[in-house]
Amino acid sequence: MAPRLLAGSLLTFCLLAESCYGTVLFSTLQPTLVVSASPKEGEVLRAGDDKITVTWGMNQSFPVGTDEAYKQVKVKLCYAPISQQDRAWRKTNDDLSKDKTCQFQIIVRPYNSSSQQSFDWMIERDVPTATYFVRAYAYNSDGREVAFGQSTDGQKKTNLFDIQGISGRHASLDVAAGCFSAFSVLSLFGFLFLEKRKAKTSQKS
């Protein structure tokens, strides 16, 4: 028990020391949270229409007291590796201040060590078409990440789900675009026709 406490507080101390230097590295975070999301593997959800239920809580197999520093939990929607391919603006970086894996925040809640919490999230209309998983970060009182948990495995291969974003198109836009385009082309031919007529009349006079 005593060695475990020592190990635990040593780890916390190291993490705090890290945060004093400014950068938090993802690889130093402990996966102490259990996170699950309602979509099944490979399920396709629609932005603006469907809901995701996320559940998070402490992994009880870790020693008591590991979560002493946790004050807040932020649950985020994160891109799966396949949606990060050839897209540098979604790149994973170990330095969390530069990491762009998780760009959408689902919910922020104060940390509750005793029970699991959950939230029903209506997928916002600005979420693009991609493959995702859910991750939760635990923050200490300084606002620094100290732990995390995610709905997928360590390699980010299992339990991934798809979201279909909105197209942003509307029938009225389609019609307007068509009409203005036609107007543009017809104006040109109208002008050319008028010019030809004027040239003919000026030749006769």
Partner: protein
């Protein structure tokens, strides 16, 4: 649709600006709208500006568009390449169209016909459709050629560099202005209530409408030549209609046109490439907001307000003292320095340094564009449009190549791409040393001393003796006379030979 009050006899036309024997203005008065010279000047740069705004309307909104259409970095790169590749051939075609139909009809037609591509950008729904709308919109950049042709027809040798530089520079301004306009319009539409993915679509109607309106203005208020419009002058016999095959032959066989096409690819082409990548570069590398990245990226294109005109003015100043040789040296020095600054831009790491170097780089690269078109009007008289088109097209080829090699997909980071592109600029500017005008000289050699070749010899060699008998070459003769100023400060009067001089192969 010329002004009905124009007299048929060109001698009786009164102009607000002082003119030379070809009725071209010898002064550039920016704040005047006197017809035909200054009115044409303003119409032509505004039309070109509108096309630039449309062609580069997508880049500042890419952070939104790439998510909406699920684009990869490769898709974005391909669309960027497509946006500048259409104009390669469009510029050649435009040059020829100007030679045959006049810049007024040629430019207005192109602007009207490419406006639909901009309207239809708002309904793009995939990487392919996005690429197609950018491709067709990009054709509108051929209005550059009509602008240069128009300026070369309206302004004399003394001020043609400045006129070309200001008109093109203020047109290129569109590439910078759009980086400011589009995010602003987008934010406004979003504040009104549209979602992100709808707001960018609506925003595209602004550049499209602007384009349509400028085409109207050009057709209603514009005029091809100081004396009138092509069609009317052709029908009255004042301007002989030229043959396409001859225009092609004399343009394509002039090696200077090809060299300038290459080097223009490494000032203007580079400018287009940077217009395409710079907003994303700042947004992604320094984690800025869309709006902020747009503002910084805009300063690159906005520098055109001064830098390209400055290049044109510098070309004219150098010509007054050193003639054509001064113009050539000026171009080589300025463009090489642009390359050096591009190399540095690829190396700096902080936001402040990046912005500073980018502004310096923009100045040199755009001034080089102005200096190039201080030389182009003198390469050929008969095929002026085609040479302008070749050079302009070459500019776009440079843009295609640099984007293809350095900014497509994820092979190089944007910083490394800039570094390598800078090196390529320095190398591809060297061929300017090879340009030689027998009557004026080149960078390293003076004019031919063995047998004195005059401006008339050079320009009249483009016409056969039968054509000369019919008097088709008279416009070139006048131009040759007016171009004597390209000899530089120490001009001694040389007797003007009339026709009868043996044809010289240039």
């Amino acid at each position: 649709m010329g002004e009905s009050s124009l007299q048929m006899d060109s001698e009786r036309l009164k102009f607000a600006l002082p003119v030379d024997s070809e009725l071209k203005a010898t002064e550039l008065r920016i704040f005047s709208v006197a017809k035909p010279h200054m009115r044409t000047f303003h119409l032509s740069w505004i039309g070109f500006f509108a096309c630039f705004v449309s062609t580069f309307a997508a880049p500042p909104l890419l952070p939104v568009i790439r998510d909406n259409l699920n684009l990869t970095a490769t898709d974005i790169g391909n669309a960027g390449i497509a946006s500048v590749s259409g104009a390669v051939f469009a510029r050649l075609a435009m040059g020829t169209a100007c030679d045959l139909f006049g810049p007024r009809l040629a430019s207005a037609s192109l602007i009207f016909l490419t406006a639909p591509a901009v309207y239809l950008s708002s309904i793009a729904s995939s990487a392919t459709s996005f690429l197609l709308v950018r491709f067709f919109t990009g054709f509108s950049l051929a209005t550059f050629v009509s602008t240069q042709f128009w300026m070369s027809s309206m302004f004399s040798a003394r001020v043609v560099g400045s006129a070309n530089g200001v008109a093109a520079g203020w047109g290129n301004l569109g590439g910078g202005a759009t980086q400011l306009i589009m995010p602003l319009v987008y934010d406004l539409i979003r504040d009104i209530g549209a979602t992100q993915f709808t707001a960018w679509r609506i925003a595209f109607f602004i550049p499209a409408l602007f384009q349509t309106l400028s085409a109207f203005a050009i057709l209603i208020f514009g005029q091809d030549l100081p004396a009138g419009n092509f069609r009317r002058l052709q029908k009255s016999g004042e301007k002989p209609k030229d043959k396409l095959s001859k225009v092609f032959y004399h343009g394509l066989t002039n090696y200077r046109g090809w060299i300038l096409a290459l080097t223009y690819g490494y000032c203007f082409g580079v400018e287009l490439t940077v217009d395409n990548i710079i907003a994303e570069y700042f947004y992604d590398r320094f984690n800025l907001k869309l709006h902020t990245a747009g503002i910084i990226a805009a300063t690159f294109g906005l520098a055109n307000l001064f830098s390209r005109p400055a290049g044109g003015v510098l070309s004219d100043i150098l010509a007054r003292r050193f003639g054509m040789r001064g113009r050539l040296w000026g171009l080589w020095v300025v463009q090489t320095l642009g390359g050096v600054l591009c190399v540095i831009l690829g190396r700096v790491g902080s936001l402040g340094a990046s912005i500073t170097v980018m502004i310096a780089f923009s100045f040199f690269v755009q001034a080089a564009c102005g200096l190039t078109f201080g030389i182009v009007p003198f390469v050929s008289r008969r095929s002026l449009g085609l040479i302008s088109g070749m050079t302009g097209g070459g500019g776009n080829v440079g843009a295609v190549l640099t984007q293809l090699i350095f900014f497509r997909g994820s092979r190089y980071s944007k910083e490394t791409g800039l570094f390598l592109m800078g090196i390529m600029i320095i190398c591809c500017t060297i061929p300017i040393c090879l340009i030689y005008f027998p009557q004026w000289g080149g960078m390293f050699f003076g004019p031919t001393t063995k047998e004195k070749i005059t401006e008339e010899d050079y320009y009249l060699s483009e016409w056969s003796s039968t054509e000369k008998e019919q008097g088709y070459h008279l416009a070139s003769l006048k131009f040759a006379d007016n171009s004597r100023s390209e000899r530089g400060g120490k001009v001694d009067s040389v007797p003007t030979p009339s026709d009868g001089t043996p044809p010289i192969h240039v």
